[in-house]
Amino acid sequence: MNIIAPMRNLLAVLLLCFAAAANAQLSIEITGAGAQRIPIAIVPFAGEGALAQGGASISAIVRADLERSGLLRGIEVPPLAPPPTETSPVNFAEWRARQADALVLGSVAARPDGRFEVRFKLFDTVKSADLSGVAYTLSGAQARATAHRIADFVYEKLTGEKGVFSTRIAYVVKRGNRFELQIADADGAGAETALASFEPIVSPAWSPDGRRLAYVSFQQKKPIVYVQDIAAGKQSVVANFKGSNSAPAWSPDGTKLAVSLSREGGSQIYLINPDGSNVRRLTQSGGIDTEPVFSPDGQTLYFTSDRGGSPQIYRMPASGGEAQRMTFEGSYNVTPRVSPDGRMLAYIRRNNGKFQVATLDLASRQIQVLTDSDKDESPSFAPNGRMILLATISGGRGVLSAVSADGRIKQRLSVAAGDVREPAWGPYTR
């Protein structure tokens, strides 16, 4: 696996989806890729035309997913007759000659009950090895979800890291005076609206099980924290105290939320149960304390505070107690997010008037600035920790962008005719 790809290969990945909310479709463009990408041949699955949704075949979705990771590169496959399937004998030398280090073969068969069977196998052509595969039974509507599962399988086998192609993202689209909280697949496809309002919606946060979203909605002319059951479309109030209620963050076990409330004057951090019970104040500062976020072990809260004169990131025990300042460079460091392994913070720092995403290694205290844009907001880690989704401004419009935690891979996600902001990357669904 040693073919060197150009560092800044510009790949335009066309948007692939056709959901009901088609005008809300996010399209994704890769603007920077890893230095070494694994070349992989994904042969069109025999019979996959029966499952193609509006032209996007299973093999095309798998390839787009893998390429979007920045770690793999799909190679062009000449038409093969007869089309090989996962049961065909593989001539590894021939695939090596085509510069493929890995190979995916598969087939789609219609079942008598109207459902479909998709089977595939992954091969390491360098080692002439069969890396196994999976068979799925699915309805036609599940073709895209199944393609993401296949991409997850291939990605994990080849990189040793769990894939995130089957996860979902939430974000807010502003179009005119209308705000919509939307949920889409991680590739931007299949966007659906969870909440529509003429008042702003900010700070969506996924429950650890991925079934609920906490967010701040201004639908009652002030910030109130709600939790919404995604499948049921049921919105319930978590915190609607006098003053402002904002910045919800779930504890890793899903039993409580950290929020910022001004009910006793000033913005301070509290814990509250998702049903609004058991409110406990955690901070007692004269400053603004907000943007709390739990460490993955649930023991620590990171948050933003201007108690020292400028907004900086602090941490404290999740049960409250003495806070320790974490950021010292610059006069504006906000919006901490903890990586899934707990070793790193992503946050927004202001540098010469530019707001950029940076990471702080919690062990070495080393800082790395990841972006060169100037209005970045709301970083959000993918559940495998590799990519960070963020909101920025491009061409005068709000867009989502993603950068790898090492800063090398970059993507831009934009939506037609609207501002996109407030991204939140959802958890693994199982």
Binding site: R178, A194, L195, P223
Partner: protein
């Protein structure tokens, strides 16, 4: 108020209906074991697919009536503007705050919402904190001038409701403000 509750009920019924439909259409796929590939029986390929999100629509809320007196004279002045990173009420706005304090004193049953706002720069959540500092300052002055604590609520809209959509200092100056709303206007 009743109107709002009815709309809410309607939204909840719609959501429940949609959820029912979604449940019908999302029949999770199962994986089975053919000869050549790994058996993963019991793990479903459901994952993210369309039809699993039910929508809540709050775009059709109505409001009750407002006392016409608060729309005339000095009481029609509702906005206080601030310099960059400032929260104190400049002298030019003190008569405005005094007029509203007088109304609240004379109408102890009436209530008020103060919305603090910031310009667009920086974190949305931190800006909610900054806007709160502005509205808290107005509330504090109203109370000093005789309004009662339970008449006034100070909240923040952060950077979310800019009066000017521009991206320069003149727009930002319009957006660093507190707005006063009376019962029936929110």
């Amino acid at each position: 108020m009743n109107n709002r509750r009815m709309n809410m009920m309607r939204a909840i019924w719609m959501a429940a209906l949609l959820a029912g439909l979604a449940a019908c259409s999302s029949n999770p796929a199962d994986e089975q074991s053919p000869a050549a590939v790994e058996d993963r029986t019991g793990k479903a390929a459901s994952g993210p697919s369309t039809g699993q999100v039910a929508k809540v629509d709050v775009t059709n809320q109505a409001l009750a009536g407002v006392d016409p007196a608060v729309k005339t004279g000095a009481l029609a002045q509702r906005s206080i503007f601030y310099d960059l990173d400032q929260y104190d009420i400049k002298d030019q706005y003190k008569p405005l705050v005094e007029a509203h304090a007088k109304y609240l004193r004379e109408h102890p049953g009436r209530k008020m919402l103060i919305q603090g706002n910031t310009d667009e720069r920086g974190s949305r959540e931190y800006n909610i904190g900054l806007g709160q500092r502005r509205s808290d300052g107005v509330k504090k002055m109203l109370i000093l001038l005789g309004a009662k604590e339970d008449q006034v609520e100070s909240v923040s809209l952060g950077e979310e409701k800019p009066r000017s959509e521009g991206h320069d200092e003149s727009a930002w100056a319009q957006n660093r403000r507190s707005d006063i709303l009376y019962q029936g206007e929110y």
